[in-house]
Amino acid sequence: MKARVMVMLRNGVLDPQGEAVRTALGNLGFEGVGGVRQGKVIELDLAETDPEAARHSVTAMCEKLLANTVIESYQIEIL
């Protein structure tokens, strides 16, 4: 079973890299981009076959390593 974790900076945390991307899009002539937030996607191959157990285990992975919950939030998709 696969899981996909999306890690984003929490709302309200300034994302300087996203801002730089927004500026670059404006320079390329793409108008109307009010904001850009940059995050990361992590895909996991799991031996677990029970979706609930997989979600539980991936949540623990996020809390312990995959996200820094001081500044980041995460969303888990079980595929």
């Binding site: 300087p16 390593l65 500044i71």
Partner: protein, 223 residues
């Protein structure tokens, strides 16, 4: 005094830190590889050096913070041991939870590498007792991810508990309240982005880091 300096793959200031411990404090200094599960016996202070541990993969300091030796460092600190984390070492300490807050990409997106003026914000610690509160010192910085974040009520707590050790005299990276270094609640763990170990010899261009290592030697000599 006995010191241990942790070495991760990608550490690059480990030897500078060891030289500072040996030359300034006379400490017997052991280099400890990240895969070790324990610290040498009778260590008085652990140094976590600057660099790019594990290539800064995932987040700066995140992989290092979960290495076997860091479990031993956390136990050591929780038992009252002294820990000094510089630059990447500061990032590692926040990732272990030994220090609060987080370090983010510099707000101007630039790698900042230059001597900067710091203001000593408290002399009440084993690291800063050789300075005076309000004293300006010059220490080099070299980092891309040094913008300190203290969210929620953390900033108020740091101020109330006098745990801000150093501030940048001028903003260099967008850090909240220009914070350059913070202390743990028991004041025995210091993390800072500037490199005091790069300011301990006239040939470095400045010696304002000497007082930190001397203060440590005086505090920890009898331990």
């Amino acid at each position: 005094m006995r010191a241990a300096v942790i070495v991760f793959p990608g550490s690059n200031c480990d030897r500078d830190m060891a030289v500072a411990f040996r030359e300034v404090t006379g400490a017997e200094t052991t280099m400890v590889w990240h895969g070790e599960s324990g610290l040498p016996d009778n260590v008085d202070i652990v140094g976590i050096p600057g660099g790019f541990s594990f290539g800064d993969y995932l987040r700066c300091g995140a992989i290092a913070a979960n290495s076997p030796i860091c479990r031993a460092v956390v136990d050591f600190a929780k038992a009252g041991g002294a820990v000094l984390g510089v630059c990447n070492g500061f990032q590692v300490l926040t990732e272990t939870g030994l220090l609060p807050g987080a370090l983010m990409r510099n707000s101007n997106l630039k790698f900042v590498c230059k001597p900067v003026d710091l203001v000593v914000e408290t002399a009440d610690s084993i690291f800063t007792s050789g300075y005076e509160k309000g004293q300006k010192i010059e220490i080099p910085v070299a980092h891309h991810d040094g913008s300190y974040r203290a969210a929620g009520d953390l900033m108020a707590r740091l101020k109330d508990e006098d745990r801000i050790a150093f501030r940048y005299a001028e903003d260099i990276n967008g850090a909240d309240d220009r914070i350059a270094g913070v202390l743990s609640s028991n004041r025995r763990v210091l993390g800072l982005m500037p490199h005091p170990e790069r300011a301990v010899d006239a040939l470095h261009g400045g010696t304002d880091g000497v007082a930190m290592f001397k203060a440590l030697a005086e505090s920890l000599v009898s331990a």
